[in-house]
Amino acid sequence: MVRKITLIVHYIISALLAFILGAPLVLLLFNWVINRKEPSFLPDSGLLFLIGSSLLLSTTVAVIATIVGTSCGFLFYKIKSNGFPTYHNILVIPLLISPYIFAVAWRDALYLLFGQYASIYSIWGVIIVHVIIFFPIVMLITGSALSSIHSTLEEAGVVITSFKKTVLRIILPLIKHSITLSFLLVLIFSLTDFSVPAFFGVRTFTTEIFTQFAAFYNYQQAIEQSIILLLVSCSLILLQFRYLAKSPVFAIGQKGSSSKCHELTKGKKWIHSSIAFLIIVTIIFPVFILIYQSLSGSHSYFIEALVSLKGAIGKSFFLAFCGALLITAVAMFTSYAELRSDIRLPGAMLLFLFVTPSTVLGIAYIYFYNTSATAFVYASPIVIILGYAARFSFIAHKIIGNGLKQIPLSMEESGELVGINTYKRYTKLLIPLLTPSLVTTFLLSFILCLNELGTTIMVYPPGTELMPLKVYTISANAPVALTSTMTLVNLIVILLAILIFYYFGKRIKTRFHYD
């Protein structure tokens, strides 16, 4: 009886979620279908070629980022050596800088070093910048999966064969799902990014969609092309659906098991030099150029940047905080409903929203929420928070889903048998056990929300000031020194926020005696 009620509640919440987050997109697609003039939906050969070349570019990015990220993940999560934890934290920084700012900084760094940057205006420029931005995602995903491998499996391997064979035959096969997932996520991120290829003048399928929006104001065509992009992304994911459905994204915590760490004995110098090179290329170059440019102005722009961002910092934090809370709550529900009640629709909807281009999502939300009945949503920052949830809940869904998989169902069932009510089972049993996953989800979502621009710029209520909006809208004609200083202030503020959340996260972890 209780289960039936729970199931009904799950269906109701699923329907509500589908209505709030997914219905705008469905309505937009419906409008597109009824307004279509062309009976054929098949892209012409030119477009097919463009899809092919964009896929090739993104696959190259995904392959390189997966190799670099998995190697880093292996080093930082499986090898003990001085400095590795610091390297790990430093190499996460590219995730905090927007791809566009990164592209500009990298180009300027090249100019400063070599006196020219023509070579970066090419496919290779896009590949390099995308790899730098996206490899930390792979590092985090595979690294976390590596840290959840039970030590006995590796020890057994090392006893009977060499370390190299243990890695190739035991460790890598155990994390193959995470590798596949990271590869796909990077591929989709790269495929759907507009800012870097547009900046480097490289034509991709996504820049083509934006051209339809920005130059031709041709919604029908833009949406049609977005649907093709959606189909491509979805089919890529569906091909690997069983990996996505079953693979861990982040294996947070060991839940009783412990992972083996190896000492770094051979090739210390070589490995440290390689990591140092990676840090120089990915962090030092761009951050140095931002500092250099911020100091190159006729006067210090630091105060000006702070004053300019003053109003935006608080609001950005507040909205990102609310966004992260909502995303965590949505993901908690969808993963629970999927694993415990076998309701898969919300998860599928989140995947669909995740691969939708941000401009299309923005337009869908305008159509749906810009009515007199829903003005309280559209005329307020609630629409921004919904946009955040639509864009990033899928990643959160996977993180929490994996955490949930590690909690045996028997624990909940025993609680139920001894008469603990549903609310207490959630708050006293499930949530404490899921705390590490929830904290990580919250932190990652917070960072993503804080930097989100694509959908926000389409829907933000007039007069709202947010950090990424402010940096971008001001960058058009402000002195380079001011833009660079604002980007640095942005970065420092995000880092500070993460440190604060990290501190509270640790306290929560201690409070629940997780270790």
Partner: protein, 335 residues
């Protein structure tokens, strides 16, 4: 405790989000925030009307504001659309999004810079100029007109912004209108043959000139003035200024009232304010825009419409041509 805190937070989000005063005006603006925001703030402090702006960004090629206006057509949120050139206003007019409004202040603006049906009114203009690096090329070696860009000795040493976006599209559309399709297409082909560099934006053209990557490039006066503030190595000239030449393209800012907007009266007040000598003087000072109202105070060194030969443009026709040539421009770009 945790539950109460969470409920309080949700309540706070809902109540803080909805705050908005009735005495307000919503303006969507494609003009660089760094120049437009101070003017809007001045209006707010002078009238007490809260200005709620939406600005656009170069990164997304100004998709935000235009696509918002189009998507919001059935339930407009914007009162005044302030565009950096009249093309967007003309597109909006053609889609029935703007309303006619003949502001009192409009009388001061020459008829040439206004829509005949009052759907948009121009003020403070920018012009297309040639920005160059003084260290790399002397002034007398520069091209005198757009046709000179096809000269062999400039091959691969100059840039224009992506011709599918912004004022570059407008300039090319004006050339198609002035020269006719054949001549304009031939000129574009010769540009391509002369290895013109396609920059991502006018700002990018400015930056490449400042760093010395290129000798010169086409951009707008406000970009050129900003470059001169940042670097002593940069200067600019107006092209096609000989008596028999076509003249340089002049692009006024353009204002439109949005049909069925929620705060029309305040929108009209804002329009009156923006179409004043005071605003034109401010824009002349902050970003070297050329006033259209005679007798506006202009700082020294700021170009004036009286001292340049402008291209004679029919903005409506140019906007129409612009939409017609865009598929061709796209092909040209992809070749």
């Amino acid at each position: 405790m945790l539950r109460r805190g969470f409920l309080a937070l949700i309540a706070f989000v809902f109540f803080s989000c909805g705050k908005g005063t009735k005495n307000e005006v919503v303006v969507y603006c494609t003009v660089d925030q760094v120049f437009s925001e101070p003017i809007l703030k001045d209006f707010q402090s002078k009238t007490g009307i809260t200005v709620r702006p939406v600005f656009d960004t170069e990164e997304t090629k100004s998709t935000g504001v235009m696509n918002r206006l189009l998507a919001e057509q059935n339930n407009p949120q914007c009162d005044v659309f302030w565009s950096g050139d009249p093309v967007r206003n003309i597109v909006l007019k053609s889609r029935g999004i703007t309303d006619a409004y003949n502001a009192k202040a409009t009388r001061q603006i020459p008829a040439y810079f206004k829509d005949s049906d009052d759907h948009w009114t121009g003020f403070s203009a920018r012009a297309r100029v040639l920005i160059y690096n003084k260290k790399l090329i002397k002034k007398d070696s520069l091209p005198k007109g757009l046709n000179d860009l096809t000269l062999k000795h400039f091959k691969g040493r100059f840039a224009i912004a992506n011709p599918l976006f912004g004022t570059t599209t407008f300039q090319i559309a004006a050339l198609f209108t002035e020269w006719g399709d054949d001549k304009a297409k031939q000129w574009m082909s010769l540009l391509k043959r002369n290895a013109v560099i396609i920059a991502s934006s006018n700002g990018d053209v400015k930056k490449r000139t400042m760093t010395g990557e290129i000798l010169f490039g086409l951009t707008d006066t406000d970009d050129a003035f900003e470059a001169m503030k940042e670097s002593a190595d940069v200067d600019f000239i107006f092209l096609d200024q000989q008596p028999e030449s076509t003249g340089t393209l002049v692009m006024p800012n353009a204002l439109s009232i949005i049909k069925k907007s929620p705060n029309q009266e305040n929108g009209k007040k804002l329009m009156e304010y923006l179409l004043s000598k005071e605003t034109e003087a401010k824009l002349a000072k902050s970003c070297a825009q050329m006033p259209l109202i005679k007798g506006t105070e202009v700082p020294e060194g700021i170009p004036s419409l009286d001292r340049i030969i402008p291209m004679k443009v029919n903005y409506d026709e140019t906007a129409k041509v612009l939409q017609e040539i865009q598929p061709w421009l796209k092909q040209w770009l992809e070749k």
